[in-house]
C-alpha cells in the first residue's frame, strides 16, 4: 500500500522538478518580456494580456522575472550541491576508510563546524566576503560540507566492515582502487538519496540569503530578490510577494517529494 502512495508522491515530485527544469532551460522562449526592462510608466500594473502577472515597482514583467528566477535558483542550487559534495564525498570517504587519527582529526573539525548554526555561519562568511552569488556559493560549500561528510563517513564505515573489502585487500588492490571501485560505488546510491533530500533545503537557503541581500543582487531576477524588492509594497500589492513565495514553495515541495520518495524506496529495498 505505502509503495503505491509513495509512488504517487515521487511522480508528482518528478513532474514538478521536471517542469521547473524545462522552464529554466527554455526561459528565453517562455518569458513574455525582458525581465530587466524597466518601464516606470507601467509600474505596479495589474495582470493584463501583455503582463500576465502584472508588473513590479519598476514596471518589470513579474512573470518573466519569475521564469528567469527559476534559472538562477536551480543553477545556484546545483552549484551549491555540487561544491558541497565535491568536498564532503572525498572527506567522508577518507575519514571512514582511513580511520584512526585521520578520522579523529577530521571528525573533530566537523564537530567544530557543526557546533555553529550553519545558516548563521554562512551568513557571516558571505557578509565578510561581500554579498554576491559566488561568495554565497563559497560560504555554503565551506559550511555545509561538514554535515554531509559526517553522513557519508557513516555510510563508508558500514561498507568498509564488509568482508569484500578484506577480500579486495587480500587480492592486492590498492587503497585508491578499494575506495573508488568498492566503497564509492556502493555508497553512490545512499549519497544520491541524501543529495535529493537536501536540494529543497539548499534552494530555500539560497532564496533566504538573497532575500536578506547576501545572495543574488538586484536587478538579477531571483525569487529571494523579488521578495525583498516587493517588501515595501506588502500592504498595497501583496500579490507581488505571493508569486515568488508560491514559486519557492512548489519548487521545495517538488524536490522534497522526490527526495522523500527515493528515501522510502531505499528503506523498502533494504527491508526486503
Amino acid at each position: 500500500m505505502s509503495g503505491i502512495k509513495n509512488n504517487y508522491g515521487i511522480r508528482l515530485g518528478l513532474v514538478i522538478v521536471l517542469a521547473y527544469g524545462l522552464i529554466a532551460l527554455f526561459a528565453p522562449w517562455l518569458a513574455p518580456a525582458d525581465p530587466l526592462h524597466v518601464q516606470m510608466s507601467h509600474k505596479l500594473e495589474l495582470p493584463s494580456w501583455s503582463y500576465p502577472l502584472g508588473t513590479d515597482h519598476l514596471g518589470r514583467c513579474v512573470l518573466s522575472r519569475l521564469i528567469y528566477g527559476t534559472r538562477t535558483s536551480l543553477l545556484y542550487t546545483l552549484a551549491v550541491l555540487a561544491s558541497v559534495f565535491a568536498i564532503s564525498i572525498p572527506v567522508g570517504l577518507i575519514a571512514g576508510y582511513a580511520g584512526g587519527r585521520i578520522d579523529q582529526a577530521i571528525m573533530r573539525l566537523i564537530d567544530v563546524l557543526l557546533a555553529f548554526p550553519s545558516l548563521i555561519l554562512s551568513l557571516a562568511i558571505t557578509a565578510m566576503l561581500g554579498p554576491s552569488m559566488p561568495n554565497l556559493l563559497l560560504s555554503f560549500a565551506a559550511v555545509w560540507w561538514a554535515g554531509y561528510a559526517r553522513v557519508i563517513r557513516s555510510v563508508v564505515l558500514q561498507i568498509r566492515s564488509r568482508d569484500y573489502i578484506q577480500a579486495a585487500i587480500a587480492s592486492g588492490s590498492s587503497h585508491g582502487t578499494i575506495m573508488v571501485r568498492h566503497i564509492l560505488r556502493n555508497a553512490a546510491r545512499p549519497i544520491l538519496v541524501l543529495a535529493s533530500v537536501e536540494v529543497g533545503t539548499i534552494l530555500l537557503a539560497i532564496a533566504g540569503l538573497s532575500f536578506l541581500g547576501l545572495g543574488a543582487q538586484p536587478p538579477v531576477p531571483e525569487w529571494g530578490v523579488m521578495l525583498s524588492d516587493s517588501r515595501p509594497y506588502m500592504q498595497t500589492e501583496p500579490r507581488l510577494l505571493l508569486y515568488p513565495g508560491i514559486a519557492i514553495m512548489i519548487a521545495v515541495l517538488g524536490f522534497n517529494l522526490v527526495g522523500e520518495g527515493l528515501r522510502e524506496q531505499r528503506k523498502d529495498a533494504r527491508a526486503a
Binding site: 569484500y164 577480500a167 579486495a168 585487500i169 587480500a170 587480492s171 592486492g172
Partner: protein, 278 residues
C-alpha cells in the same frame, strides 16, 4: 621450507595510546596472545576453537590483512610483518583466503567475472583476453558453468557463491588458501561436495590449506594437523588429527563432545561440561 610461519603473534585491540580518544585506562582486548604455528607445503592444517576464540583474527593476521601487535609472520622465510600495502602484493598472491559469509564476501555491484578478475588485474599485466581466459579456467576448476560469469552474487545460491569464493582465491595460483569457516552456511550435501572439490584442487595444484572451523567432524576427515585455539592462545596441537580423540585437554574434550554423533548407539556417557571459561 614452511609455506607459512607465525612466531609469537599477538593482537591487542584498543591499546591505550589513542589520540584525543576515550582511551582511559582500559587495558584493551587481547584477541590473540602469543600464537606460533607453521604450515608445510601440501599440508592441510586445521585451526579449531569455539566462537570468539580468535580464529578469524588469527586468519587476518596471517594474511597480513591486519598488523599484529607483537610477533612475526613469514612466507617461505620472508618476513612480511611490517611490509606496506604496496610491498606486500607479491606475497598476497601466494596467500589467499576464502571467507566465511559468502554473501558479504562479494561486492554486490560486481559480476562473478569482475570478482574473479579483481585479483588478476592487480597482478597480471596480461591482456584482457588472457584474463578472460583465466576466469573461464578458474570457473571450470571450481565447477561453475561459464554462463555464471555474467551473474551477480544475489543471483547465485550459497553453494555457488562459495565456489566463486574459492575461484577468486585460486585465480592467482596461490600456495596456501586460508578457509575461514568456509562451509558453515551450507547444508550437508553441499558441504560434502565442497570438501571433495577442495581435495581435488589440492591434488591438482599442490595447495596447502589452513582450515578454520568448529566443525570437528569435517576437520577429522579432511585435515592432517590440528591446532586448538582457546581464548587467543594455543591450547593444544597435534600433528595428526587422529590423535585428537585421545586428547586429555579439558577444552578439547569439550569441543569433541560437541560433535554430533551419527547414531544414538554411538552415544557415550554424557560428558561433564564445565563452564570454566567466561
Amino acid at each position: 621450507m614452511k609455506v607459512l610461519e607465525a612466531i609469537g603473534l599477538s593482537k591487542v585491540y584498543n591499546p591505550r595510546h589513542s589520540w584525543l580518544g576515550r582511551s582511559g585506562r582500559e587495558p584493551g582486548l587481547t584477541a590473540i596472545d602469543g600464537v606460533s604455528l607453521s604450515i608445510a607445503p601440501g599440508e592441510n592444517a586445521a585451526l579449531i576453537g569455539e566462537s570468539g576464540s580468535g580464529k578469524s583474527t588469527l586468519a587476518r593476521l596471517l594474511l597480513g590483512l591486519e598488523k599484529p601487535t607483537f610477533g612475526r609472520v613469514r612466507y617461505r622465510g620472508i618476513d612480511y610483518t611490517d611490509l606496506r600495502m604496496k610491498d606486500m602484493r607479491g606475497i598476497r598472491s601466494k596467500l589467499q583466503m576464502v571467507f566465511q559469509n559468502s554473501y558479504a564476501a562479494f561486492n554486490p555491484m560486481f559480476t562473478v567475472a569482475q570478482i574473479i578478475d579483481e585479483p588478476l588485474r592487480n597482478y597480471d599485466c596480461d591482456s584482457v583476453e588472457m584474463r578472460t581466459q583465466r576466469i573461464r579456467e578458474v570457473l571450470e576448476q571450481v565447477g561453475l558453468a561459464a554462463s555464471t560469469a555474467h551473474k551477480y552474487p544475489h543471483e547465485l545460491s550459497g553453494g555457488q557463491l562459495q565456489r566463486v569464493g574459492i575461484g577468486r582465491a585460486l585465480a592467482l595460483r596461490p600456495e596456501l588458501i586460508v578457509c575461514d569457516e568456509p562451509f558453515s552456511s551450507l547444508d550437508v550435501t553441499i558441504r560434502k561436495q565442497m570438501v571433495t572439490l577442495l581435495q581435488e584442487l589440492k591434488d591438482q595444484l599442490g595447495l596447502s590449506y589452513l582450515f578454520i572451523s568448529h566443525d570437528l567432524s569435517l576437520v577429522q576427515r579432511f585435515c592432517d594437523s590440528v591446532t586448538v585455539l582457546q581464548r587467543g592462545r594455543i591450547a593444544e596441537r597435534y600433528s595428526s588429527v587422529h590423535l585428537l580423540k585421545h586428547s586429555s585437554h579439558p577444552y578439547t574434550r569439550q569441543l569433541l563432545a560437541a560433535v554430533p554423533i551419527q547414531h544414538p548407539a554411538q552415544r557415550k556417557t554424557p560428558l561433564q561440561v564445565q563452564s570454566n571459561h567466561y
